[in-house]
């Protein structure tokens, strides 16, 4: 299924907590159900991505390695 990407974000080179804050700020500009595309580094950034997304109620649509970084699609969850 092809997802329509509402916004793309490259956070390679960033470290915690800036990684999640950049994602959080990008999600703030989207509507519920919109999909955010993120390119992020291997290691700690990708390790904590799913946890942070799930804790805040967003869904990981896909996650795959691309060379030395990762590409993720996150669907914005309902605002509590």
């Amino acid at each position: 299924m092809m997802e329509s990407i509402a916004k793309s974000l490259n956070i390679t080179g960033m470290v915690c907590p800036m990684t999640w804050m950049q994602i959080r700020m990008a999600l703030a500009k989207l509507s519920d159900g919109d999909v955010l595309e993120i390119v992020l580094d291997d290691g700690e950034p990708v390790k904590s991505l799913a946890r942070s997304a799930k804790e805040d109620g967003h869904a990981i649509v896909s996650l795959r390695r691309e060379g030395r970084s990762w590409r993720a699609l996150i669907r914005k969850g309902l605002v509590q």
């Binding site: 291997d42 290691g43 990708v46 390790k47 904590s48 991505l49 799913a50 946890r51 942070s52 997304a53 804790e55 990981i60 896909s62 996650l63 795959r64 390695r65 990762w70 993720a72």
Partner: protein
């Protein structure tokens, strides 16, 4: 000219010394001044008690408090004559004084699972329980410290406690849910998950039960299997540090009090013939280690690890005897 104080004028003549008997009050270098160590289990302190501590410290201490390395607030420079008032004023707000001596001390703990993203167990709940049920108890030959860590990162140093508990989760993999993205192998810091042909291969012997794979998995293919507390015994810091030995895994919350009772009961029983000796030092004796494990296995057959377990590991603190050291020392070079 020296001024003499009439004995009748010395306020300590008539002081009620019960305030000193239960410990937590430490004599300072300065004459008649004491440091009051407060009971702050797990380092958690409600704000109303913090306000009372501030007021008491302003009234009876100086212009600061000290945070001990075991999460207690200490009020230094309290005059001996003020100790009963300090105890009473703190007590009105529910703030207790800590202990010292050969007893169960105030437990230490990390923040636990309530708001720390890595936390796997409710360390604060168990620290409060120990403070309520075991604090100040025991007829031991030496002190007994209990520590709770909410994950294997072990920020509160459970490996250096007489009895340490670490929250643990055993990961379980669901093949049907797995998308083969490989992020679990990246997340695992122990090499316990290897990415083989696009799917995770789990190597249980390497797993620390930290749950990093479960949290990192976007598809919830990794989930919690057995959960509970790893128990380790016999650690200490001080002049002769010892690293605790893991003895049990996946103790449930409600098994923890009985486990504490089993370990402290053994220490009371077998420690009776020792003077000022920590449990980790007693356990260096092969016969004692065997007896200890047998006592625990009798009560927790499903939880205590099988086989010949390694004893708590002392850290060598003295330089090994070598002739050149002695010669250097003899020649005034020092060691």
């Amino acid at each position: 000219m020296e001024t003499r104080t009439d004995a009748a004028e010395d306020p300590l003549v008539s002081m009620d010394v019960t305030a000193l008997k239960t410990g937590g009050i430490i004599k300072q270098r300065q004459k008649d001044l004491f440091t009051v160590r407060l009971k702050c289990p797990g380092g958690r302190l409600p704000l109303d008690r913090l306000e009372r501590i501030l007021a008491v410290a302003r009234r009876h201490g100086r212009d600061y408090v000290h945070l001990s390395v075991r999460q207690s607030i200490e009020i230094p420079y309290v005059n001996a004559a003020d100790l009963p008032a300090v105890r009473a004023e703190l007590g009105e707000a529910g703030q207790g004084i800590a202990s010292c001596g050969p007893r169960v001390r105030v437990p230490t703990a990390c923040a636990g699972c309530e708001y720390n993203p890595n936390g796997l167990g409710d360390t604060q709940k168990l620290a409060a329980l120990v403070a309520e049920r075991y604090f100040g108890t025991g007829r031991f030959p030496h002190k007994f410290k209990i520590t709770f860590g909410g994950c294997p990162t072990d920020c509160p140093h459970s490996a250096q406690a007489d009895l340490g508990f670490l929250a643990a989760v055993e990961p379980r993999w669901d093949e049907k849910a797995c998308t083969g993205c490989g992020v679990c192998a990246v997340a695992c810091g122990e090499g316990a998950i290897e990415d083989r042909d696009g799917f995770p291969h789990f190597i249980p012997d390497r797993c620390l039960y930290c749950g990093d794979c479960i949290r990192a998995c976007p598809a919830s293919a990794w989930s919690a299997g057995r959960t509970g507390w790893i128990a380790r015994v016999g650690g200490k810091h001080g002049r002769h540090p010892i690293m605790a030995a893991n003895v049990a895994t996946f103790l449930w919350d409600d098994e923890v009090p009985e486990f504490i009772g089993a370990v402290t009961g053994w220490y009371e029983r077998q420690g009776a013939r020792y003077r000022r000796t920590r449990i980790g030092t007693i356990l260096q004796d092969d016969a004692m280690w065997t007896d200890f494990l047998a006592a625990l296995r009798a009560r927790f057959p499903e939880r205590v690890l099988p086989g010949n377990l390694p004893k708590p590991q002392p850290l060598s603190v003295h330089k090994p005897y070598q002739k050149e050291y002695v010669d250097e020392y003899a020649s005034g070079g020092g060691i």
